[in-house]
Symmetry: C2
Subunit: 184 residues, 2 copies
Amino acid sequence: MRKIILDLAVTLDGFIEGPNGEIDWCIMDDEMDFSKFLAAIDTILYGRISYDLWGQYQPDDSASPAMQDTFTAIHTKHKVVFSKTATVKDENVRVISTDIEKQVQSLKSQPGKDIWLYGGANLITTFIDLNLIDEYRLSVHPIVLGKGKPIFDNIDRRINLSLTQTRVFKSGVVQLCYQPQNNV
Amino acid sequence: MRKIILDLAVTLDGFIEGPNGEIDWCIMDDEMDFSKFLAAIDTILYGRISYDLWGQYQPDDSASPAMQDTFTAIHTKHKVVFSKTATVKDENVRVISTDIEKQVQSLKSQPGKDIWLYGGANLITTFIDLNLIDEYRLSVHPIVLGKGKPIFDNIDRRINLSLTQTRVFKSGVVQLCYQPQNNV
């Protein structure tokens, strides 16, 4: 069965973006080898707002080569947008609007690589509520942002996790990997 | 100069307590050697609410021996409560109500061990704003709590940090230690 992996960069205070969508604090160094993660997935799951912001995002010329390469690789993947109303005119994009649990379980049971749950917070909450996340991979960045969009929002129950891996990078980023305890 | 250390247990979603003050998720195992930290400090700084909740707290008999020992050690320390109005009838407790920056700098310059900034969030924010924290030591627990009291609240600026140490415990707790970059 393919795994659904929530892989995100977060600040030490748990934000995934600044209040105006800022991700300039996000470190993309070679040591982190994000391209390896991208090579192991073939599908990306977006909420509608996240897709509108990031689904076709192209970094401008001032972005680092690593950031440029990341988005080039992202745009080769199958994409799924979760929305009750959105229509997307892109043959590489599928919209799921109903029966999320059933359709995601069906997606997981198909052959293929792992699946990246990109966000945003509403979709993450839905996936937590439906117990659909197999792995949490949070790259904790050495910054307190103060304000922004929290990774976890409106979660109604405790999620007990098991730490499976920790990676410490020279940049000060610490990647924490967990599985939900009911999936261990 | 004595250091001011913010040392706290946090959930993966950045809470220091549940919505009703719950800390039952907090792991106190021997491997973490919290007693070593306590032995290296001689003073604890509380906000008024935190002092009322925790300043004289005694765990009940159901708490772990490690938790019991921790609070026994805590109550041997000098305590400082930050409050404009509080009066505390305890000769071991000093109240600071004005000139926080000056009085804390004076405290730091006195001989003694390091100083533990206990919290809560309002006092942490004040100390961040006044640039008074020398070290952040967050013990990230393997749980998403969903709701609770955030460690960082109402912070108005970014704090860039340098990772100084990472400790991974069998319990799944990961301790992340940082210095603010302007103090490195």
